[in-house]
Subunit: 368 residues, 2 copies
């Protein structure tokens, strides 16, 4: 399939005005595109760098139509977009990634079913329709399991560890008394992620695997390269490609995996899919020729995918809440690339920026 | 002198809405600043990425006052700012670089006088007040000389080669019948430039010397590193520092130099100063941890200067006029970072974008 790339000067629409939308808008501008951003919050960070701002609810169909009519392509900074919004947009303009990618990735149940179908290993899991299902599933998976709402979970929200909640009913309430999955908690050596990108012509590229550290469900640090055997890293990229091809995904996808120990070697279990640019790929801005944001914009604009080559080793630290108050010290650190999101209000747990340390290639242990 | 850095969320004002203003605005946003841009052209590329746009003439004092009041610091994308505009702005807010830097750098006569005072070598030159001065100066410098208007010259405009104009009166008309300088044309081995940055506390940093190629007065290509003996490269940085200190310049300055042959070695002659981010520094976006645009924003915001370390070799090519029509082929080239300026109309000689090829450190011959 041959692509007809969107010419520079075209307008890229972004649904969602947070830091991901902001960094997407900057990347689009670097390629010569206009950007329009739709977000309900008038103080959205992305509005500060967009060519035009649409302050509107994701349910405001008249606003969605005006937005779609102004845009040559529309993309998303997050996956929890109401299905009806996608329908309204798709009737009027090209939308990337597709409704299918979004639908599967906004539902942990569908995500796991897809992975099972592709025979891609995950932690053992079960669908939970009500509190009654929890007991029977726990009987099978053990109590070292976590209940996760199927939809609208991020940064560890909508999750309850079963061993901390003696009572299934309590866990059910914590996840919002809505359809969920129960997932075995597997002991892992490390957490890694693949940032892959797929074009509308089926072309595929991926960045080097990153190694991630979470605290309280929130990403704290990513480093590239990951400490991973070469064969495991290759397997991670191959898994990412199979998932993205199965979804016919166009754009960037972030795929989180656990590295577990099996027979003295490494085994990968896929944990979570995000059909968008991903926090664990922020290091690509400073460690690679082209960032994940540029890769996503190129893919949704039907441009050739960029080089995903890494020119440096990189360690990215999220600046969460009051972390960002340390900006004067961070700004003074040599070799640290500081990215601040233009959010006026500091709130606990709020992602305010990130700081990426750049090191010569080969400085970090790769395990390969 | 200790600096009080401007906190993130502050507003950086940029006078001028072309590609330099656009790339400054993007760099400011990456550091968490809001940006406002003032430019008379409603289609200014920088407006597309700015938080707010002021469409106004540089002579519109009411508009300049509204702009200054909205900004915590104001800077410039070009040096030919009317002195009165700077006065109006300086009365209301911090302005960087200073009126002195601008005044000296917008006048080739003052520029040359400064260099003479600092005993920094230049090509032989003479002040020209009228056509009568040309004959006498040519008697001293020879006819292999170029007449350059003192003010408002850029990209080779306002220049006349004397050997092509038999008639001094004709040359005088070409440069606009206004005060000028006559400058000896020296045979040079190559053209190089230093992108230096100086903080309000006197701190100084500079990127590796770039080697440049001009055609018809317009920059075609820059590469870093330059092919230059190590001692010559060090001398170039030292010259840049002396000039910037003499002007108490705050921000980035681009300093163009000729490398000539002298006694079998290399000798530097300073050609031109630009008190701003400079086309020959665009390679820093992709070749360095921090770009010249970030360096400038940090300096004018009283932040610590960034690392100017280079992580890759780089070759930047300007996309001029119809060059930009080749964007599909350029977008498909692996390892090429493409930057397009969002200019809707292609005109001959108009800078539409640039493309930077990134190569592993040590790929390019350095001469050092």
């Amino acid at each position: 399939m041959s692509l007809k790339p969107l010419p520079p000067g075209s307008t890229v629409g972004i649904l969602g005005g947070g830091q991901l939308g902001r960094m997407l808008a900057i990347a689009a501008a670097e390629l010569g595109f206009r950007t329009e951003v739709l977000c309900p919050d008038p103080g959205s960070p992305a509005f500060q760098v967009a060519s035009a701002a649409h302050v509107a609810a994701y349910e405001d169909e008249a606003a969605l139509r005006r937005f779609a009519e102004a845009c040559d392509v529309v993309t998303f900074e997050f996956e929890n977009v109401p299905a009806r919004a996608v329908e309204v947009l798709e009737a009027l303009t090209r939308v990337c990634p597709s409704a299918t990618s979004l639908a599967v990735c906004q539902d942990r149940g569908q995500e796991k079913e897809l992975l099972d179908r592709l025979r891609i290993p995950t932690a053992a899991w079960a669908l939970i329709e009500g509190p009654g299902d929890i007991q029977s599933a726990a009987g099978r998976l053990g109590r070292n399991a976590v209940l996760k709402s199927r939809r609208f979970g991020y940064d560890g929200k909508g999750q309850a560890r079963l061993d901390e909640h003696l009572d299934a009913a309590a866990a059910w309430r914590v996840v919002g008394a809505a359809p969920a999955i129960l997932e075995e908690r597997v002991p892992f050596l490390r957490e890694v992620s693949v940032i892959g990108v797929r074009g509308g012509d089926g072309s595929f590229a991926a960045y080097d695997v990153a190694e991630n550290r979470h605290e309280g469900g929130i990403l704290v640090e990513s480093r590239a390269p990951a400490r991973l055997a070469k064969a495991t890293a290759e397997e991670a990229l191959s898994i990412a490609r199979r998932i993205m091809e199965a979804l016919e995904h166009v754009g960037v996808m972030g795929i989180e995996m656990f590295v577990t120990e099996a027979d003295g070697g490494e085994r990968l279990l896929v944990n979570e899919l995000a059909p968008r640019v991903h926090n664990t790929g922020h290091w690509t801005q400073d460690g690679c020729i082209a960032s994940q944001f540029e890769a996503h914009i190129r893919a949704v604009a039907d441009w050739p995918l960029p080089s995903t080559a890494r020119h440096s080793d990189a360690v990215m630290a999220n600046l969460i809440g009051a972390d960002a108050d340390a900006w004067p010290a961070l700004a003074a650190e040599t070799g640290l690339a500081l990215h601040l999101y233009g959010k006026s209000e500091v709130r606990p747990g709020r992602k305010m920026g990130h700081a990426t340390r750049i090191l010569p290639l080969g400085t970090l242990e790769s395990g390969g």
